[in-house]
Symmetry: C2
Subunit: 223 residues, 2 copies
């Protein structure tokens, strides 16, 4: 190859021990979003689960997707979403990242992850599902569709953003939400959490113009 890179072939990848492969492959998509999904069961039990697969699908209509796993604690989440049609998406921030991670433990369905982790359920009139009080950015979601992903027996849950709650002083004049200032974190692989440092915002790219820095973002977080 002539350069300092490690090469892993598909045959080698297949032969790796399962946890090793899971860590490796989970690193390859790049940084992931870090969200807590709040749901309520038909018997009024609250559930809270960490997801690193929430992805932007479009802004008109405003849609988010997220991927279920075949066997995990997220089964409660999926059942609740299908049963009630609603859920909440709450950004994990650097004040609550350890409590957020703890929601991935396999608690029984009737045990509230809120109680176990010290996070505070917040009920607002716009949704039956609980929000996370400590989150600085949160959305009320309505289930639109579930797409089966046959390749690995997972599902893409598609939801429409209804109500949005954003802590003060992070929504900029042009609509940009300064999620770094709101202390939102990113995840890498299965278990690593990261705060961010802004390189900058770039102007809309045009073929006949060089890349242009729109503005430098500050590194100061909200109080």
């Amino acid at each position: 190859m002539g350069f300092a890179m490690q090469h892993i072939s598909s045959a080698e990848l297949l032969a790796f021990e399962e946890r090793y492969r899971a860590r490796l492959v989970n690193s390859l998509s790049g940084f992931k979003s870090a969200n807590l999904i709040g749901t309520v069961s038909t018997t009024d039990d609250f559930n809270l689960a960490i997801f690193s697969s929430v992805v932007h699908l479009g802004s008109s209509p405003a849609l988010l997707g997220m991927v279920t796993r075949p066997v995990t604690v997220t089964r409660d989440t999926y059942k609740n979403i299908v049963d009630t049609g609603v859920y909440t998406v709450n950004h994990i921030n650097s004040d609550i990242w350890q409590a957020a991670h703890q929601t991935s433990a396999r608690y029984p369905a009737e045990v509230s992850e809120f109680e176990q982790t010290g996070l505070t359920p917040q009920l607002l009139s716009c949704s039956k599902a609980p929000f996370v009080k400590e989150a600085n950015i949160k959305c009320a979601m309505r289930l639109l569709d579930v797409l089966p992903i046959k390749a690995n027996d997972t599902k893409l849950i598609i939801g429409q953003i209804e109500d949005i709650f954003i802590t003060k002083n992070v929504l900029n004049e042009d609509g940009y939400v300064d999620i770094q200032r709101a202390k939102s974190v990113a995840i890498s692989a299965l278990d690593s959490y990261h705060t961010t440092h802004a390189l900058g915002r770039l102007a809309y790219a045009k073929p006949d113009q060089p890349t242009r820095l729109l503005n430098q973002l500050g590194d100061n977080a909200i109080e």
Copy 2:
């Protein structure tokens, strides 16, 4: 509400000017992965396009998903992937983030984004599609499936990871790839780029045990 949050209702969201709404909604999923997708056309033209929607779907088999947009430069990418069945996923790092952003300009199909942005196409024997030489983490992908997302006329492209290339000194003993050390960046909203600072890795969460820090990651990047 009794707390310092801005509330945006679904009716207000619908009424926003289009670009304002796009910036706002693109912030709400949290931090996004930052990847360059390399493809080749049936007439041997190289294409390179930035995607912020690459998402981990599973590790066994090793699958990545990514979302097309209805009308953008990514149409070349989609056509090439369907025509050839292969593509590459290349992490954007803090040495090439501005060049990577420039690939989003609407160049004609026969114009190579590599030439326009100064990024170097790299051909390896494992794929017909070009890699980005400057990327520290890259994967050869094989198209598995395309799921139509009817809610907004986009598509989820599902691909299997075949060969993996990782720059030296970032693959840890347990399979964790230190993508921060590899200088991978994260995106927020449409146009903001971020490096990261590691809070730490956490042990696998268990119901009867408190959250435990697995280890502190260093902040030093590769040379």
